[in-house]
């Protein structure tokens, strides 16, 4: 956000931002940031509602059902109704629970999810903050949600919660390493760690996106990112922390009402965030998928960047939902083997191979 490009060839400008930038150049960055933050708050409030609806619909259609149909058009208001219901429910606290930690635990993952969202580049001007060490920031903040889950499990005074939290803690920290190494790969090939810089390094045609620009390596890295982020999100096929048949509700067993919905909220916002990061790192973020033919590119460019960003993100989210209904759940030992004996060595090798190729000059 340090230098706002004044001359972009993007047709849709932030009108208020442009006016302010013209008249008060000194505070333009802040004004832009606050406007973005305001819209982000609205998005964060509506996003889980939409994603839960999407999840249920996708699940239903995979199983040849209809899913929620009653409340609103094709059940669109179903999750709003569920959220309102949870708002009116009492938060039960079991006997012997650590009151303060029990109260604090759902707040951490929810606010961490929001904080990572602040540095997602939605569009040229649509980003709250763009720290130079964006990748490190993402890794640091997303660690907070692990902490929240561990706190929830310990504070609940329930054996299922404790075991579920320890399992998902072990799982999340393991897969965070692969995630970090893949982000390092992207930092290596782009030479920048600000998320905006990473997106801008993919300018050009569709073949300049990192998934295609690194021949084969990019595709492998994208697949690894998908696997490790699915595990990081505790989603199926890696959802052992909430394996209903073994651990009832996992770390959230004792949670009810709004505290429970905060965990749910964090889960879905996190899903959006990691899909958004996948779009940023590999799929060109807010850039239009240009194909190198003048006329078509002009039409594609006319569509504002945030529309492309949301399209790509929803595509990745759909992949996550597809995984859920395609792969059977892994056991915890298989999960740990997958990370420590396959993904991590493969990641280190990928990093070194990319380094060699980059140094020799075979790629880029």
């Amino acid at each position: 956000m340090n230098q706002l490009p004044t001359d972009t060839n993007y047709p849709v400008h932030n009108i208020v931002g442009d006016l302010v930038r013209h008249h008060f150049p000194g505070v333009a960055g802040y004004v832009n940031g606050f406007l973005t933050l305001a819209s982000l708050l609205l998005l964060v409030a509506l996003l889980p509602v939409f994603l839960i609806w999407l999840e249920r619909k996708v699940a239903a259609h995979f199983q040849a059902r209809l899913g929620p149909m009653r409340v609103g058009y094709h059940g669109l208001l179903q999750s709003t109704a569920d959220g309102l219901k949870l708002l009116f429910k009492e938060v039960l606290m079991p006997k012997g629970a650590d009151r303060f930690v029990f109260f604090l635990a759902p707040i951490l993952p929810a606010s961490a999810a929001f904080l990572v969202m602040t540095i997602l580049p939605f569009d040229h001007h649509l980003q709250v903050a763009d720290p130079a060490g964006g990748v490190i920031y993402v890794l640091g903040i997303s660690g907070l949600s692990t902490l929240g889950i561990l706190m929830a499990g310990w504070a609940s005074n329930n054996k299922y919660s404790l075991l579920g939290a320890m399992r998902s803690g072990a799982q999340m920290i393991s897969f965070e390493i692969s995630l970090a190494l893949i982000m390092l790969l992207i930092v290596m090939v782009t030479g920048t760690s600000s998320l905006r810089g990473i997106v801008l390094s993919q300018q050009g045609t569709i073949l300049d996106w990192w998934i295609f620009k690194l021949p084969v390596l990019g595709l492998v890295a994208f697949m690894m990112y998908m696997i490790s982020s699915t595990a990081e999100l505790n989603r199926a096929p890696f959802d052992i922390s909430e394996a209903e048949s073994e651990l009832t509700g996992g770390f959230a067993t004792e949670y009810s009402g709004i505290s429970f919905s905060m965990f749910f909220f964090a889960e879905f916002v996190n899903m959006f965030v990691s899909a958004g990061l996948a779009a940023t790192f590999f799929l060109g973020g807010f850039l239009a998928p240009q194909i190198g033919i003048g006329l078509i590119d002009m039409v594609l460019n006319f569509i504002p960047g945030f529309v492309w960003f949301f399209c790509k993100t929803v595509l990745v989210i759909f992949l996550y939902m597809w995984f859920r209904w395609t792969f059977p759940r892994l056991r915890i030992d298989q999960l740990m083997d997958l990370e420590w004996k396959m993904l991590l060595p493969a990641n280190l090798v990928l990093l070194m191979v990319t380094g060699v190729f980059l140094a020799v000059g075979w790629i880029l």
Partner: protein
């Protein structure tokens, strides 16, 4: 600097958002009468057997230690990765690409050996 000020505001707003939801719920929510059944920890509707602060597998701690090792490794690799491209493209004259690459390789190789050592020691086996 500007970015971090904005992030600071976001921290505040995020906390306000989540805290606001919880406080709203606290004011609106229905409270049923207290009772010992209500506050009993859930154990499939049976009376809980023993406390919940039970012993669990030490493997969790070993994996946490390994995580620390590799997470800090990725943090140490970060500056190297950041300048890698500019060094290779010879835009950064103060560091020789061969030295940088050798250092990187040795660092990752040592970690790889560490991983293999842990593997051979049987730490990575989850029973």
């Amino acid at each position: 600097m500007e970015s971090y000020i904005m992030i600071g505001f976001s921290v505040f707003l995020g906390a306000l958002f989540v805290g606001g939801a919880i406080i709203t719920s606290k004011m609106l929510a229905f409270h049923s009468p207290e009772g010992w059944r209500k506050v009993q920890p859930y154990e499939c509707s049976e009376n809980p057997i023993g406390g919940a602060r039970i012993r669990f597998k030490v493997a969790f701690y070993i994996f946490a230690l390994l995580f620390l090792l590799f997470d800090i490794e990725s943090l140490f690799l970060f500056p190297c990765m950041k300048i890698f491209k500019s060094v290779v493209a010879a835009q950064n004259g103060s560091i020789s690409p061969i030295v940088l690459f050798t250092e990187l390789f040795v660092f990752v190789f040592v970690l790889f050996v560490g991983l293999i050592y842990a593997w051979r020691k049987g730490v990575l086996i989850w029973e």
